[in-house]
Structure formats: C-alpha cells, structure tokens
C-alpha cells in the first residue's frame, strides 16, 4: 500500500461525491483565499512602496505638516493642531539652505477640470503648484516644450506644463505647446508636456497640470492649506547637514519651544517605507486571522464529512480489514484522503487568492509579485488542517470491528 494509491483512491472518492466534495473544497478554499489574498496583496504593496513610492530619490527628504500614513488612534487630533507650513517659511528655508540643496514647494488640488476650446477633461485632474526644482527633485522630464522656471514663479506667469492624460483627452493629434487652456477662471499657456509615468497605487501620474506656485496660491489654494516642501541635498556628504539645518530653521520659523517635538514631519524614503509596513502589517494580520478562523470552521466541517464518509463506507473498511489491512493502512488511507481534499481546496484557494490580489494589484497600480512565501504558508496550513481534521475519523475507521463492519447495511 503506498501513498500514490491512497491519493488515487481519494481523488476517485472526491469525484463520486461531487457536491459534498465541492462544499468541502470551497470551505478550505475560502480560508486559504483570505490568507493568500491578503498575504500576496500585502507583498505587492510592500514591493511597490519599496520600488515606487520611495520616489524621493537619493539625498532627499520631504517636510509636511502631517505624516503621509497615519495609523495610530487619536493621532489626527495631535497633527491637526499643528500650524500650516506657509510660503514665508518655505522662502526663508530656501534662503537658509539654498546653497547646499534644491528646495521645492508643492501644493495641489484634485478634481479640477481643464478646458481647451470646446474640449474639456473630467473633473479629476490634479493641479500642482510648485517651483522650478520640482522636475529635478521628482525626477520628471519635459520632453516637449520647457519646464517651469524661476522667473515664471517670480513673475507669476500664466504658464502650465501638462501631463500626458490631459493631452490625450483635449489635444487629440495636435501639438499642445503654445495653446491656451482654462482652469477654473484662469487662462494658462501650455509651455511643456510631462513625460509619461503611469500609475502608482492606482493614481495616474500623468493626469496633472503643473503651474507656478505663486499662481496656485493666488487662485486655487485655501488659506488653511499647508504646503509640502521637498529638499534634495546637492551631494551625499551634505545630506545630514542639510537635514539638521532644515529642522533647526523650521523649528525657529515655526516657534517650536525647545522642550516640544517638531511641529512638522520629516519624511525620508526609509521613513515612508516604514510607515507603510506598519499599515500592511495590520492588513496581513487581519487577513491571517480571518483565514485561520475560516479554516478552523472548515476543519470542523471536514471532520464531520469524513465521519459521514466512514459511516457510508463501513462495509468497505470491513472488507479491507478482512483482507488483511492493518490499522495503520486504514488510518493512512483516510488521512491521505482528507489531506488530498484539503490540499486541492488549498490549491484552489491559492489560485483564487493570487488572481484576486493580482487583479486588485493591477487596478491599484501595484507591482504584482508571486508571493512564494505565502504559497508555502498556505500549503503548510492546509496540510496541517487535513492532518488534524482527518485524524479522528481515520482513527475511528481503523478501530472498526471487521465482523460488525462487514455485516453493516
């Protein structure tokens, strides 16, 4: 008697009881789906954050009023008390560290509509107010036309660099450079076209219009809105110094008392990745928990079904014992059968979970990965599930009295 024989027998019995097997497989598949789906989604998010979210580039950091990811309870209240970062603070900071680093200022409004003649976009365009170093710091090129310059900001010019999505929507087949667009009540001359970036975390990086921060602040910003500042040190050696200088300068500018924490956030690539892993940690934890509960329920169901199966196959068991099957072989047969069912269910769950996370990942613009570690975890868990839920029925089958079993109708 060998394992492959038991597996073949198990598959045969799965096909004999199609509905019952289907329901059992389904219960296992759902549990594994939860584990596998959340696990691989989390892997994809982590991967994406590492490769794409960390788009600050080398020697860069970001200054914001609030952290970009908030997980703790009550933290919003703490951050909300903070004073906004205003244009004056930015200008002063730029004066202080401008000889060692690029300093960009950024503020944006979503849900804008851009018009050209009778054409217009959906009201979902991101309008970005910034300065001349934005393109350098954020690693964006302007392959057609030119970028925003210092003079554009200084003289508050009505100029705009548009993303590829905008061009596709309202400038079908025409060169947009030099054309006049309308955003709200303001008219802008298109001076450049941004390079294509695709989507990150579901957000298109090409559906935006970039204008001088001076213009933005005048017409599109609310008085309470805080600015983001990005700093990129000229070289690696000066990075720490620039960081210290920035913190010092901002604390002074914002009047933070010596005993108080910073009234702003400094984010580096590492700190953003860290914040995200905190968030994904929660996600995978809940996925695992839900999966394990589902599998525990599935395990009880499997035990029940195997007990019924053994009842139905009492005569077969009696026959096998009469023909000389030892207890061990009967135990093995039913254990392997249970494990085959759970493993098939597990494989279905893995495929479903993988498909779900892939579809969701693609929709969110994540880097989709094949999460080998989650596949291994899922397979291990289902193997143990089969072992545990099959143990009692198998033990019971092996203990049947062959005389009684053969007489059973």
């Amino acid at each position: 008697m060998n394992i492959s024989e038991s597996i073949r027998m198990a598959i045969a019995s799965i096909f004999t009881h199609k509905l019952r097997s289907f329901l059992t497989l389904l219960s296992v598949a759902i549990g594994v789906f939860a584990i596998m789906g959340s696990g691989s989604l989390v892997s994809s998010i982590d991967e994406t954050v590492e490769t794409e979210m960390a788009n600050l580039g080398e020697n860069s950091f970001k200054v914001t009023r609030m952290p970009s990811v908030q997980t703790g309870r009550g933290s919003w209240r703490k951050y909300n008390k903070r004073e906004k970062i205003d244009y004056k603070q930015y200008s002063q900071l730029k004066k202080n560290i401008g000889e060692m680093a690029y300093v960009s200022v950024e503020s944006s409004q979503g849900s804008m509509t851009v018009k050209y003649l009778e054409f217009q976009t959906d009201p979902d365009v991101n309008l970005q107010g910034t300065n001349e170093v934005y393109f350098n710091i954020n690693d964006r090129d302007v392959p057609l036309g030119r970028a925003i310059t210092e003079a554009d900001v200084e003289f508050d010019r009505n100029v705009a660099v548009i993303g590829n999505d905008i061009r596709n929507k309202i400038f079908k087949g025409i060169n947009p450079i030099g054309k006049e667009i309308k955003i709200g009540n303001q008219r802008f001359e298109v001076i450049g076209l941004l390079d294509e970036k695709g989507a990150i975390l579901g957000q298109s990086q090409d559906n935006q219009v970039i204008i001088p921060i001076s213009k933005f602040n005048k017409y599109y910003s609310n008085w309470w809105e805080s600015l983001d500042i990005k700093v990129k040190a000229f070289n690696k050696e000066s990075f720490v110094y620039v960081l210290d200088e920035t913190i010092g300068a901002l604390r002074t500018l914002r009047g933070d008392k010596p005993w108080e924490d910073n009234s702003f956030e400094i984010e580096t690539n590492e700190s953003i990745t860290e914040q995200f892993s905190g968030l994904t940690g929660y996600l995978s934890y809940f996925g695992l928990l839900a999966g394990f509960f589902a599998l525990a329920a599935a395990g009880v169901g499997i035990t029940n079904i195997m007990l019924v199966a053994i009842k139905e196959r009492t005569r077969e068991i009696g026959l096998r014992k009469a023909l000389g099957a030892r207890r061990f072989w009967i135990t093995m047969q039913f254990l392997v059968e249970t494990m085959t069912i759970t493993l098939i269910g597990g494989l279905i769950g893995i495929i479903m979970g993988y498909l779900m996370s892939t579809i969701l990942g693609l929709a969110l613009g994540l880097t989709v990965t094949i999460p080998i570690n989650w596949i291994i975890i899922s397979l291990t868990v289902t193997t143990f599930l089969g072992l545990i839920s099959g143990l009692y029925p198998a033990y019971k089958a092996a203990g049947l009295d062959p005389i009684e079993a053969l007489r059973y109708e």
């Binding site: 024989e5 004999t16 000389g324 030892r326 207890r327 005389i403 053969l406």
Partner: protein, 235 residues
C-alpha cells in the same frame, strides 16, 4: 500424514446482549487438514457464523484454543490477526464485497497491496488468479460491468491470489441463480482437486453435498461431523 491446518480444541464463545449472556458456541472441537473440502452447516442461530468468524481469524474464542498452522491464534493482537488473514485465509462472501470503483484486476490486487508486494509482481499474480477463474478477458471491467457469477469469480480470484492455506466461503452461492451457483461450485471443486483447502459455510443441503466432509452445528454444539458418502461432483 497430511498437515493439520486448523486445530480447534474445546472452544466456546459467549456474547453479552444487554444483561443476557448468549452462548454462541459451547465446547466445540474441530480439526481440518490440508486439502480437505468441508461444508459447515446449520440453521441460523446454530453458531455457524460465529465459528466461521473465529476460523477466519476475524474473532477470537472466549475459552479454548485455536491453533492455525501450529500458531496459537488466541495470543495474537489485531495486527497479527490481520497478517494471518492476509496471508493464510482467502475470504469469499455471499455479497461478493468487491470495491465498486476498482477494476477486476485492482480488486484482486488489494490483498497483495496489504502484504507489501511490489507493483509488477502484484499485476502478474492478479492476472494469473483472474486467468485461473476463467476471466482473463475481463481484467479492466468494473464490478457493475460484470454479471453476478463473474463478480463471484473475481472474488474467488481475490481469495486465491495470496495462495492462502484455506479458502473460507460464506454462502458463496446465496446471491446467485441455480445455474450460476453450480458454475461456482464447479470452480470450488476444481480448486479442491488442485490441492486447495476449502471450507464452505451454507445452510443449503444441495450446496453442502458438494463437499467431502460435512460438519453440522446446532445450538452452539457440533451435532455431526462426518465424511459425505454422497458427494456430488462435476465432470
């Protein structure tokens, strides 16, 4: 002198049914030698099923001793009993008891699987056994594709495949019509003539008359145990 295979001495079997003790067998002694053809007869309640279970090592007696090929069966545990059943006893049942989803060949292979014989060996032996019952053209047929007589032949082939010391048949013709039943009895006679030891449990006089020796049980006791002077044989 022929070898004694079964040696039962003063065995009894007592069951507890609720508060009542049922004496299924009382002080039974039987010995069966190699190449005997024995019919075990008796009405229901006579204890013949109990005796058959004990002979088949499916059950052990309450008192008395049972020596099988010189081994004291009383002292064996579950797994050792399973091993004796596997190697020494070929069972044939009234209801055939074939695995419904397995081919004739797979059914015959089953006892060999349990005795740990290698796959190619198993196939050779299973094919030979199927040939010896005249079903070499039905190897891949499932039980539901075979007639009752053919199913019983498969079951007999399964009993033969381990070359056991005895073949123990429990009402082997009980589910068959007279003609098919006769075919099966002819097969048993054949096997006996080739040197097999056969014990047939039956309540039908006609079937019992094919055997060389008839043991009649009544109320848990051996009533008669004698050579069958009127043995009916096939040509």
């Amino acid at each position: 002198m022929p070898k004694t295979i079964i040696d039962i001495r003063n065995i009894s079997k007592v069951y507890k049914m609720g508060t009542q003790l049922v004496h299924a067998l009382r002080d039974v002694s039987v010995s069966i030698e190699e190449n005997e053809y024995v019919a075990l007869m008796g009405p229901s309640g006579s204890g013949k099923s109990t005796l058959m279970n004990i002979l088949g090592c499916l059950d052990t007696p309450s008192t008395g001793t049972y020596l099988f090929n010189g081994t004291n069966v009383n002292e064996l545990n579950d797994n050792e009993l399973a091993e004796i059943r596997n190697r020494e006893i070929g069972f044939v049942f009234q209801t055939f008891n074939l695995l419904p989803r397995a081919s004739a060949l797979k059914n015959i292979e089953l006892p060999l699987v349990y005795s740990g014989i290698k796959k190619y060996d198993r196939l050779d032996r299973a094919e030979a056994a199927l040939k010896s019952v005249g079903l070499e053209d039905r190897m891949e047929h499932k039980p539901n594709e075979l007639s009752g007589g053919q199913r019983q032949r498969v079951a007999i082939a399964r009993a033969l495949v381990t070359s056991p010391s005895i073949i123990l048949a429990d009402e082997p013709t009980g589910n068959l019509d007279t003609k098919t039943g006769n075919d099966i009895m002819k097969l048993f006679q054949n096997l006996w003539e080739k040197g097999n030891t056969i014990i047939i449990v039956t309540h039908e006089e006609e079937i019992a008359l094919h055997a060389k020796r008839i043991i009649r049980l009544r109320d848990g006791l051996v009533e008669t145990d004698e050579i069958n002077q009127n043995q009916v044989t096939f040509n």
